[in-house]
């Protein structure tokens, strides 16, 4: 079971042009900024949106192509829409059983299946409720159960976990991961949460302004982002630049000394926020990359602090991560001027 698609849809100012090729049992995560065209792509796969051009082929069978457009009912997809769209007149159980019933399952089997799906997502006790009596996160879980209950050949999930509370989210994510691993269909997952993408997907596709800016395995993407948005999502500082000696790369931040990259010309430079050290005065040590910087914002997240800096002569954004303790010790607050340093060994560089 494979998916081979090229989705070409016009959406006002944006033209969505996303090719997707996914093998049996794989999970593709589609990520990107708001308005990039993720939902549009998903709906085009489901048949809710017509293609201007391109095609959708599943298992060699064409669902959409020049002059051809199968209706959603003819596609055997399971769709979890971003606004969950539970049937308001059916209970949670009947909502989940709707798919199996539609595909011919006897009433009792469908109800049993629904109970199991709801139970797996921790909402078995809500089976008898109508959607109006569900909270946001409860409704999202019921909708996820409904999408999973059809055993579709193509499972489409649009931000399936966005309304879940942080405590239940890891459980649901783990359950979903187990389900998707056991499942031989193709899953396309749209999400804003890198953790969802990295945990659930075999392959990441980053879409910006309707076009794919980077794709690859999670490991590859995390290690070598090639786009500022991707770097942001995986939590790295990323700068484009050029190198003439294979060691120092000229970037907007200034020259960055790297661990060496055996390549000349246009390159990317990346390093983790936690590799950035902050000094109240100019340091004179082994750290080879040091820039003047000014604090823009300070965010405390539990026990660590994320410091957004404007660094270098051109006030280039730079993210640093330090312990909550150092915030107090160094008296870090917006406006503070200081020095930021990164050891050359912490900097990775690769051709662009």
């Amino acid at each position: 079971m494979t998916l081979d698609a090229r989705i070409l849809v016009d959406r006002g100012a944006v033209t969505v042009d996303v090719p997707l090729a996914v093998a049996d049992g794989s999970v593709v995560a589609v990520l990107g900024p708001n308005g990039a065209g993720k939902t549009t792509a998903l709906h085009a796969l489901a048949g809710l949106v017509h293609l201007r051009d391109g095609h959708v082929r599943v298992d060699g069978q064409t669902w959409a192509g020049p002059g051809l457009h199968l209706d959603p009912a003819q596609r055997a997809v399971g769709l979890l829409a971003a606004d969950h769209l539970l049937f308001p007149h059916l209970t949670a159980r009947d909502n989940v059983a709707f798919g199996p019933r539609s595909r011919g399952a006897p009433r009792r089997d469908a109800a049993a299946r629904a109970e199991r799906e709801l139970d797996a997502l921790g909402v078995a006790d809500l089976a008898g409720r109508r959607p109006e009596a569900l909270s946001h996160g409860q409704a999202q879980r019921v909708a996820l159960a409904r999408a999973l209950a059809t055993d579709p050949r193509l499972l489409l999930l649009d931000e399936p976990l966005s309304a879940l509370d942080p405590a239940v989210r890891p459980h649901i994510r783990a359950t979903l991961a187990a389900r998707l691993r056991a499942y031989d269909g193709v899953t396309v997952l749209v999400t804003h949460d890198p953790l969802d993408a990295l945990t659930l997907a075999d392959h990441l596709v980053f879409v910006e302004d309707g076009t794919v800016v980077q794709e690859g395995t999670p490991a590859d993407v995390v290690e070598r982002p090639r786009d500022p948005y991707v770097a942001h999502v995986v939590g790295l500082n990323l700068y484009p630049g050029t190198t003439t000696d294979g060691e120092t790369v000229a970037t907007p931040l200034g020259p960055v000394v790297t661990a060496g990259l055996g390549h000349r010309g246009r390159s990317w430079v990346a390093f983790a926020p936690s590799a950035v050290a902050l000094y109240p005065d100019e340091p004179h040590g082994s750290t080879r990359n040091v820039w003047r910087a000014r604090i823009a914002t300070v965010e405390l997240v539990g026990q660590t602090a994320r410091i957004r800096l404007l660094a270098g002569v051109d006030d280039v954004p730079l993210l640093a991560e330090v312990t909550a303790g150092s915030v107090a010790a160094l008296r870090l607050h917006p406006g503070t001027a200081l020095w930021a340093g990164v050891k050359a060994t912490e900097v990775s560089a690769y051709p662009s």
Binding site: G47, A73, A76, L85, H89, S102, R146, T150
Partner: protein, 274 residues
């Protein structure tokens, strides 16, 4: 991105005239109600209540009311069976054909009922477009039978039913159809399990409207089905006959009809139709 300068807040502005603002709505609404209710009141005030009971005990009264109830019930059932699928298909169609079909369906409403009766005779009469072949093949004759009463009532009520229900179905979010389709539901299943229940209040309203229209139907019935006591004389026809020589009896019968319909609509609406 620049933070907008906060403008002067106007707290409490909302509380300025909620009362007066509501009055602006209540006045026309009240006028509308008055326009409809005053004539009904006039009817009640001018009725001779002394002879009311005796007027209602005339031998033609009960058969007429019974016939009216039976035929209108069948009419509403037929409207539901034929009209709901039609309304659904129309509500999900967008082409020019659908536009004109909608207009054509509105036309029987425009037709003066007596002309409607003539048209029915021309279609289903013994010499009618459909009636003639039917008669020759099966000896089947529709006019002047209770079936003709139902046919006349369906002809005048179906448009109201279809248009009311179509409106309700169009108001049902089409994304529910789409979701149901992605879950594998066939069009029939979507219709039965999604469109029907979601449009239920609209269907109930449409049925109430169609029932009321059928109950009051006069012109097409007397022309197409005749006015035979016991078999085609519905309550409005009985009112017409009574009007010929005893207007007070006619009023009494009309008021009985109104009371019955008010009770039926009030009770049903309270329970199912809202």
């Amino acid at each position: 991105m620049t933070a907008p300068a906060p403008t002067v807040a106007t707290p409490g502005a909302a509380r300025r005239h909620p009362g007066r603002s509501r009055a602006v709505l209540l006045v026309p609404a009240g006028l509308g109600v008055a326009l409809v209710v005053l004539p009904l009141l006039g009817l009640l005030l001018r009725t001779d209540w002394g002879s009311f009971a005796s007027n209602l005990s005339a031998p033609v009264v009960w058969p007429a009311i019974r016939l009216s109830l039976v035929t209108t019930l069948v009419t509403v059932a037929l409207c539901f069976v034929l009209g709901t699928p039609l309304a659904w298909l129309l509500s999900r169609a967008d082409g020019r054909a659908a536009t004109w079909l909608r207009a054509v369906l509105t036309v029987p409403v425009v037709l003066p009922p007596v002309v409607g009766g003539v048209a029915l005779l021309m279609a289903y009469g013994r010499r009618g477009v459909v009636g003639a072949p039917l008669f020759e093949a099966f000896g089947l004759r529709l006019p002047f039978t209770p079936t003709a009463v139902v046919l006349a009532q369906v002809f005048v009520s179906l448009p109201f039913f279809v248009l009311a229900v179509e409106g309700a179905m169009r108001a049902v979010d089409a994304r529910y159809d789409a979701v149901a389709a992605t879950l594998g539901a066939t069009p029939l299943r979507i219709f039965v399990r999604v469109a029907l229940p979601l449009a239920a209040p609209g269907i109930a309203s449409g049925a109430a409207l169609a029932w009321a229209r059928a109950l009051g139907e006069f012109g097409a019935t007397i022309t197409f089905a005749g006015n035979f006591a016991g078999s085609t004389q519905t309550a409005p026809l009985a009112v017409y006959v009574a009007l010929q020589n005893d207007p007070q009896a006619a009023l009494a019968l009309s008021i009985a009809m109104l009371a019955v319909s008010l009770l039926v609509l009030g009770m049903l609406r309270g329970r199912w139709i809202r």
